[in-house]
Symmetry: C2
Subunit: 198 residues, 2 copies
Amino acid sequence: MTTKPKVVPARRSERARSAILAATAELVFEVPYGRLSIEAIAARAGVGKQTIYRWWPTKGALLFDALLELSGGPDGVALPDTGDLRADLGQFLRATVAEMAEPRFDAFLRALMIEIQSDADLAEVYRDRLLAPQREAIRERLRVAALSGGIRADADLEVAVDLLVGPVQTRWALGLGGLNEGYADSLLDLVLAAVRPH
Amino acid sequence: MTTKPKVVPARRSERARSAILAATAELVFEVPYGRLSIEAIAARAGVGKQTIYRWWPTKGALLFDALLELSGGPDGVALPDTGDLRADLGQFLRATVAEMAEPRFDAFLRALMIEIQSDADLAEVYRDRLLAPQREAIRERLRVAALSGGIRADADLEVAVDLLVGPVQTRWALGLGGLNEGYADSLLDLVLAAVRPH
């Protein structure tokens, strides 16, 4: 007979959930994603496979929640607004480049790239919960700049967001290399030239 | 006893190779890539699994050769040079957008995106044999424009190539939508503003 204190079920659930997300984060980094199994995650987390399937229907859904946990969720995506557009966008681009060079983040994003190519539902969740807030934060910073005349009033801000994020995303996804602070600064030079008043 | 004519072995090999590449092209479009097996390709092509493995070490390597076959190989990637930079780049961007909207091409490229996220060797072959010639063709067209003063002499052409291909690639890879001729033209407006002389 043991004398373990009673564990409130909700608290036990929360503990299991945290253990599963932590195990996922570890294993995404350790195991090629194609060979990463729910069984392995369950074993590492010390839970049964069914516990995982009760909360996450697919490996991709679990991956996404683990990424949200890792990235601190969709909050805090606002861009700085010091009044200096070049400084603010430069800080954003250098941070993006640094993040993508971080091996754990890289492993996560590559796994997510694999999943969203074949899982349209997950792709939609990713767009709605992570990409859309990020893109809106950039667009909002550009909108403020347009109001004060730092950007042409007729510049297409949706395409301007693409100019800021697309080149870095593409170099990373296709493994083209060269993603460093110098690249971030060269990219910023061209993007600012594209949107500034004639 | 049959009276079949003798088939020259080299010709039989070539026929098997074509059948395998054609079967791959069909099945990539019909079956989610994660569930597409070499067995299924062998069955469709009417060859043994070992025949496929003799020529292609992995599903990814086979996928890449089937894509090369589909896209007509790395030849013909030169950009038009009519002397009108806007017209030439516009034609390239509209063709790119149209290609990515083509369901068969889309299925192939998504399968390749999946493979290159986890197979560094295949990613390198893809970069060397398809991406590098494409990027060089764009860079060359920009270089010619820079010589005649249509582009600032100090513009970073490597980053300018990224501005042209990155936004489209990213919208496609992340499923952000909106890839049509109007988008191609808006993107071109901003990219030309980025690189033209002050």
